[in-house]
């Protein structure tokens, strides 16, 4: 065999890869399915069985309960602030990193990844240290009657911090792959900065933007650790959905806890569906659809 040319060796190897014994194929597949069943499907089913344990009526009663409803609204508000902020930040950061050369680019990239590397609890603590009563800013904030920690602003800040890498991380490789040429061409043709962004750059990165926004939103709504530290767990005031679930659970109100949790499970499923749709669109840019958009 050692005397064989490389080509035939590779051919032999390729053939063997295709004729893997059926038993091995089945075994590998079984392990994967079993793993997914135990760690993904089973918990998901459990969430919904628990949620509907006492019937559909009880399920909706749990969601309509005033504190639960407040938690849902606070979560939506937080996401509504954090996601657009991080969209703007992500666009600016990825534009700067992909299109310009400047010293400290590597450091900036590392800093963008920081929230991924830091435990969410620490992220929350940072804001307590910055804006809490014991902090340097504390007395000034108290004098002006501004509440950050144990209030909505703190929750929003912590959420923004935890979710800021999502859009930027998604867009940087996309923008780097696209390069500068189309923007330069647009500039030579007389287009202004905003025209270039909306007519040339954005259409090229729109699916990346959407993908980043979906992931950012899912994390913003589901974040527990960082928000838990800054929220103070005031029922009906500073509880987001994940915090509310925890409280219900700690009170042994399992049915209500899982009913609210099912909302996050729905969000997760919706996110996964949206993510696959976007991924599918990125893989095959269908010209017809874009023509429809222009007509609209």
């Amino acid at each position: 065999m050692s005397g064989n040319p490389v080509g035939s060796l590779a051919a032999v190897r390729g053939k063997r890869a295709l004729t893997e014994p059926p038993l091995v194929q089945v075994a590998l597949l079984a392990v994967t399915v079993l793993f997914l069943a135990v760690f993904l499907v089973l918990p998901l089913v459990a969430v919904f069985t628990q949620a509907f344990e006492k019937g559909v009526g009880a399920y909706f009663t749990a969601l309509r309960e005033p504190d639960a409803w407040k938690a849902i609204r606070l979560t939506l508000l937080t996401a509504a602030i954090a996601v657009p902020l991080n969209l703007v930040f992500g666009l600016a950061a990825s534009w700067a990193i992909a299109k310009f050369e400047f010293p400290g680019k590597g450091t900036l990239l590392t800093l963008i990844d920081l929230p991924f590397a830091v435990s969410p609890v620490i992220s929350g603590m940072i804001f307590v240290l910055l804006f809490g009563r014991q902090s340097a800013l504390g007395p000034w904030l108290a004098d002006h009657d501004l509440k950050v920690i144990f209030a909505v602003p703190g929750i929003v800040l912590a959420t923004v911090f935890v979710t800021f890498p999502f859009v930027a991380r998604e867009l940087i490789p996309v923008m780097q792959a696209l390069g500068n040429e189309e923007e330069e061409a647009a500039r030579v043709l007389g287009a202004g900065g905003w025209q270039i962004f909306f007519r040339v750059t954005l259409p090229n990165i729109k699916w990346g933007v959407l993908y980043g926004v979906i992931l950012c939103n899912a994390r913003a709504m589901g974040e527990f650790g960082a928000v838990s530290v800054v929220s103070g767990h005031i029922r009906g005031l500073t509880n987001t959905i994940p915090l509310h679930i925890e409280i219900l659970y700690n009170e042994y109100n399992f049915q209500a806890a899982f009913a609210v949790a099912s909302l996050l499970a729905f969000l997760a499923v919706a996110t996964l569906v949206a993510k696959s749709v976007v991924e599918w669109r990125v893989r095959q840019p269908a010209p017809r659809d874009e023509r429809l958009e222009e007509a609209a």
């Binding site: 061409a185 043709l189 007389g190």
Partner: protein
């Protein structure tokens, strides 16, 4: 509209891409910036366009300084090396882009834009592809769309960066003849960048040969080809046999060659090198009046309009000669035979002591 580049210098970090370059492009001419990669030709083109700003020097259009004018208002047509077509737009929308982004006041009505774009697409013979996307076109078609798009804004000058660089050889030749005809038709002052000397000599009115950020020579195709100013230009513009040696007392002693050199009558010797194009080498069986050398025939490539001979001189140097088919048949030479090679035309470059760039030759001269 004429273009004048005056004393332009551009540095990227410690690398000087363009070094004190001055060029004038007369109105309506097609000029090639020719040079190896890293010679600064693309940087110079981008400076003319306004895509880069020079560290020193200025660019004038029709005598008007462009330093304070942004690329948006310079009215240049720029064709990028990789076309840079807007991939999410159709061919039509690509060409219409420059008209559609104009401010409301100066933007032509939609019907006018449509008519104009279709005219341009007819000019580049692509009107039947108006609804396609760039990804559905061939390289040559994309190139022509890029050209139509550049022309749509009625530019005052047209700049092309390696316009045929990423096309295959046959399309390349077709397209460059087509570009020449188009230029003859619209007479727009144009500058194109290329590393292909054949392309430059074939298409351009004038050729600017660049090397290491400086201009090595400027002139018509014929001038630079027949009267290269430096060894660099000589070797860059085509293959040549090199004979290194020295000049002394009205004679040049170049390895196996010794010829008269009346330009240098001093008794002190100077290092020099002689260059001969393959088609300027006469190959015979008999010694033909002296001034040549005996070389061994190594290889014959009979395919093509001329027959290429590869020979080795007594000192081991390799020589390329080109003879016509008739000469080759008459010569009837076999590989391994000894033949007499005599340069009909020999360009001798004497190395000056105070020369500013002595290592000007891209390839080391063979001894």
């Amino acid at each position: 509209m004429s273009i004048e580049v005056r004393n332009v210098t551009k540095r990227f970090g410690t690398f000087t891409a363009v070094n004190d370059v001055s060029v004038t492009v007369p109105a309506g001419e097609l000029v090639a910036l020719l040079g190896p990669s890293g010679s600064g030709k693309t940087s110079l083109l981008r400076i003319i366009a306004g895509l880069e700003s020079p560290d020193a020097g200025s660019v004038f259009f029709e005598g008007e300084d462009q330093a304070r004018r942004d690329v948006r208002v310079r009215r240049v047509g720029f064709v990028f090396q990789h076309y840079a077509l807007f991939r999410h737009m159709t061919v039509f929308e690509n060409v219409a882009f420059g008209l559609r982004v104009r401010p409301r006041g100066s933007r032509p009505p939609a019907a006018e834009i449509r008519a104009k774009v279709m005219d341009l697409l007819k000019l580049v013979q692509l009107d039947w592809l108006a609804d396609r996307r760039p990804s559905e076109l061939s390289g040559g078609q994309r190139q022509r769309v890029a050209l139509a798009r550049a022309l749509a804004v009625e530019p005052k000058v047209l700049l092309l960066d390696e316009p045929f660089g990423s096309l295959d050889a046959r399309i390349r030749q077709e397209l460059r003849r087509w570009l020449r005809r188009l230029h003859d038709e619209i007479r727009l002052t144009s500058v194109f960048v290329t590393h292909d000397q054949e392309e430059a000599l074939d298409v351009a009115d004038r050729v600017v040969v660049m090397n290491r950020g400086r201009i090595a020579q400027m002139g018509t195709s014929q001038e630079v080809f027949e009267h290269p100013a430096t060894p660099f230009v000589m070797t860059f513009l085509g293959q040549s046999a090199v004979f290194s040696g020295r000049v002394q007392g009205g004679k040049a002693f170049l390895g196996p060659l010794s010829v008269d050199y009346p330009d240098h009558v001093h008794e002190d010797s100077r290092p020099a090198a002689g260059y001969a194009r393959p088609h300027d080498l006469e190959v015979t069986r008999m010694e033909n009046g002296g001034g040549g050398l005996w070389a061994t025939l190594r290889h014959v490539s009979p395919a093509g309009a001329v027959v290429k001979l590869e020979l080795t001189d007594p000192e081991g140097g390799s020589l390329q000669a080109e003879v016509t088919r008739e000469q080759h048949d008459a010569l009837h030479a076999r590989e391994g035979e000894s033949l007499y090679v005599k340069p009909r035309k020999l360009r001798i470059f004497v190395q000056e002591d105070d020369t500013s760039d002595p290592p000007d030759t891209p390839r080391a001269p063979r001894a």
